[in-house]
Symmetry: C2
């Protein structure tokens, strides 16, 4: 009696536990991860598009001659090295988000590789946090000087004239700030999932 009861009662418990834990954990993580990475792609792409379409042409006094003849001068993102860096950084981030979305989808299909992928994600996400945050800081600073000027060194504000240009810079910087915060969360999520694996 005892020898027939024991084998029936034990195996289901021992076999059921590991697959449930293994399947539950990476699935939940990966779906949220894919969703956030798609959102990251959307944020970085729209940030680049808004910045690229910021060109505005106005009839303004020549720079340095406030009372001189008026000329048609365009304001474009490629007049400022900071905004060119911004475009480059956000474009690379968009490309990165496509690649990692595909990698994250592959984790859902083959959870066996998830540990190594999580480590690589955590590593690269931190690097991209730095890239996107520095681009946001640089472009935000150009936008701020454009909006407020700096009377101490005689840098004039330009947003009174180039209103559309400044609105585009502002929106683009806001989107890239959102992208940077998303990357911080993505990096934290990868690390936390690794941490949970230790405790399980």
């Amino acid at each position: 009696m005892e020898s027939t009861d024991k084998p029936i009662a034990l195996p289901p418990k021992a076999e059921a536990a590991p697959p449930a834990a293994a399947a539950k954990c990476p699935f939940n993580y990966s779906v949220v991860d894919v969703a956030l990475r798609v959102l990251l792609f959307a944020a970085s792409l729209s940030s680049v598009v808004v910045m690229v379409t910021s060109k505005q042409t106005k009839l303004v006094p020549m720079p340095g001659f406030p009372t001189g003849p008026r000329v048609t001068i365009p304001a474009k993102f490629n007049h400022s090295p900071a905004l060119i860096y911004f475009i480059a950084a956000l474009s690379v981030t968009g490309l990165y988000s496509i690649i990692t979305t595909l990698a994250s989808i592959s984790i859902i299909q083959k959870p066996a590789y998830s540990k190594s992928f999580l480590l690589v994600f955590a590593f690269l996400d931190v690097v991209f946090v730095g890239i996107v945050a520095s681009a946001t800081g640089a472009a935000g600073d150009v936008g701020y000087i454009g909006l407020k000027g700096n009377s101490h060194v005689g840098w004039t504000k330009i947003c009174g004239v180039y209103d559309k240009f400044c609105r585009h810079i502002g929106s683009s910087v806001a989107l890239s700030l959102f992208a940077a915060i998303l990357l911080v969360f993505l990096s934290m999520m990868s690390t936390f999932t690794l941490y949970k694996r230790i405790r399980d």
Copy 2:
């Protein structure tokens, strides 16, 4: 004979292995971690000091009147909101590096808590990567406009006049870039140590 040989041979092996593995892994990590955090403190402190001591007073033409009367105008970091943000961000990073150095030393003394500390380190380091990188971007942009100017919008270069001020901004930005890279490495190291724990 057999009963006396076995107890002598086995316990040293069984007991020696776990402490060696447990002591080796967190010890190596923690010492490097403490060293990097002390370096981070040095970098952020010197960055703040170099920026704060950048004040330079010069006899220059009044802003807006290149041929007008010459006046004594100082160039200080608090003339630019981007540089004030830079000081604030690097000061907070310096404080953070002191706290985490103490926490990292406490891990060496009590390795039992190291897993939770590693997770907290990995989380906070990523946030500080974002803060320091954005401050570096913003201050670097102010320095770049000061160095090169922007002829498209009439922002004049100021580094020809305020040479010491610009040298200080440049050095300070270089130090904060170093601090940001250190933080990326620290975050990666915490994550990698968590990853190694899974494999061990």
